[in-house]
């Protein structure tokens, strides 16, 4: 049922795309249709594949490092209220500065390679991961904490068995957002300065008026982001096994 819905949605989106091409009468160098883009993907696959690998590594590394950093920050803030008072403003500052504006600085400092793109992705996902995990842990039932205190719980075990599982649904939301925005960080980083990656390839194809190739890179990027999102979503749903997702409003009621 789910697979059928996804296929139907994909076909509908492709049809809408084709319709826009037909109705607007846009020339192929402005908006190519789905068919020329599919052909471009097939013809240029050898060329696109290394760029996809680069971007994928940037996104995955960004996600991994950003999640680890965000998770550790949230844990530290929960463990030490004093540290929280110092870290929380840093967290807000990390969001107050537009991360895209930092891209040229990061490229200047970290070079044209992988590091600057990973840093961009890390900066983008640090806040959603940290805040969702921190506030998720804060929601631990006080009575449960008191029960654990009476039982003589050690701090690491209290986190392992009670606090972290409590925060898992909230952390899951943060990780889903992070997965959706991490590719933005990587691609913006590539646009500012790089010699490989799908973002770089898009600029390269654009400069040579190979618009179908540009759209091919965009389509692959969208598919990669979607696949990544669904993988993380499935992983989180599996980890959060004790609660099956429910709709708030029963469909038959309305």
């Amino acid at each position: 049922m789910k697979a059928g819905r996804i296929i139907t949605l994909a076909i509908m989106l492709l049809l809408v795309w084709q319709l826009i091409v037909l109705i607007s009468g846009a020339p192929p160098y402005i908006l190519p249709g789905p068919w020329p883009v599919a052909l471009a993907i097939i013809h240029n696959w050898q060329e696109l594949w290394p760029h996809l690998q680069t971007t994928l590594v940037e996104i995955l590394l960004g996600l991994l490092i950003g999640s680890l950093l965000g998770g550790s920050s949230a844990l530290l803030m929960t463990l030490s209220p004093l540290l929280k008072r110092w870290l929380l403003p840093v967290l807000v500052i990390s969001q107050a500065i537009p991360v895209f504006a930092l891209a040229p600085v990061l490229v200047l400092w970290l070079g044209y390679g992988l590091a600057s793109k990973v840093a961009m992705a890390v900066l983008i996902i640090y806040f959603p991961v940290t805040s969702s995990f921190y506030y998720g842990m804060q929601r631990t039932d006080r009575d449960l904490l008191e029960l654990a205190r009476i039982m003589g719980a050690t701090t690491p075990r209290l986190f392992r068995y009670i606090i972290i599982p409590t925060a898992l649904p909230s952390l899951g939301s943060g990780l889903r957002v992070a997965t959706a925005v991490a590719p933005i960080g990587a691609v913006v980083g590539e646009w500012v300065g790089s010699s490989s990656g799908l973002g770089y390839y898009m600029l390269y194809a654009n400069a040579r008026m190979q618009i179908d190739n540009m759209f091919a890179a965009l389509a692959i990027l969208a598919l990669t982001s979607l696949s990544l999102y669904f993988c993380i979503d499935a992983l989180i749903t599996k980890l959060h096994f004790w609660e099956s997702p429910k709709e708030l409003i029963h469909e038959k009621t309305y």
């Binding site: 009575d143 029960l147 009476i150 039982m151 719980a153 050690t154 075990r157 068995y161 599982p165 004790w242």
Partner: protein, 250 residues
């Protein structure tokens, strides 16, 4: 069926005073909780029943003056509240062993002990079930077993059955009495009948700061039958007493 290794403990509160937002909740309260018996605390909401349990459990949020002494000294307590507090991500068996897990004391013998307890409470079939798959009564039985698993000499129970339906409540009262025989149990309740069925002693709290009245000469063995003439008579007089005090305090 009683699970008891440590000798039961008694608790003595001497000149204990507690202020709650500037209002005195206890003013030089003196009270002894007898060892090896079930003491039920009755009283209206807000009279400090739960605060007394928290005091005995050394809750760091409660500031008090006076002394609380255990005999034998340095006792550890176990706790059961109105909510079962079962962890939804753990099986019933793991929930019963929660204390051992949190202290890093899980062994083959603790696992076996949890299974024995579950069998004795008629929950063997549900060992591997998650709390969401259990009824309210089963969950509260699980919480009771988790409390007993701790093998502490003093059990503190804060309205443990108040969220259950009447029939399940009666069954759980019987189970609790049979499994906590010879232990020191301090049980807070709103329900005079529950106190009469389970208590060797009843302490009535009234007013603020709390006045204390102790009824210790209760006839018969626990769990008392709800319809027994003695229980019915005592229930009636207890209700009259509580209603009179409630009326006077208004």
């Amino acid at each position: 069926m009683a699970v008891s290794i440590l000798p039961p403990a008694s608790v003595r509160l001497t000149d204990v005073s507690v202020d709650y937002s500037g209002n005195p909740l206890f003013d030089n309260l003196n009270l002894t909780i007898a060892a090896g018996k079930t003491t039920c605390i009755l009283g209206p909401s807000g009279c400090g029943k739960s605060t007394l349990l928290k005091l005995i459990a050394s809750n760091p949020d409660i500031e008090y003056s006076g002394t609380i002494t255990f005999s034998p000294p340095d006792q550890e307590v176990s706790w059961m509240g109105q909510n079962d507090l079962l962890l939804p991500w753990m099986t019933l068996h793991d929930n019963v062993m929660l204390g051992a897990r949190l202290r890093g004391e899980v062994s083959r013998s603790t696992e076996e002990k949890a299974s024995v307890l579950l069998r004795s409470a008629g929950l063997a079939k549900y060992e591997l079930a998650l709390p969401a798959q259990l009824s309210g009564g089963m969950r509260q039985r699980g919480a009771l077993l988790r409390t007993l698993m701790e093998e502490r000499s003093l059990l503190l129970m804060d309205e443990p059955f108040s969220a259950l339906d009447a029939l399940t409540r009666l069954k759980l009262q019987d189970l609790t009495v049979s499994m906590t025989r010879d232990k020191t149990v301090l049980l807070v309740t709103h329900d005079p009948l529950e106190a009469l069925r389970m208590g060797n002693e009843i302490i009535i709290f009234s007013g603020t700061p709390a006045d204390v009245e102790i009824i210790s000469d209760l006839p018969g063995k626990v769990p008392r039958h709800a319809a027994a003439p003695d229980t019915a008579r005592l229930h009636d007089s207890l209700l009259r007493k509580l209603m009179r005090e409630n009326h006077e305090s208004r």
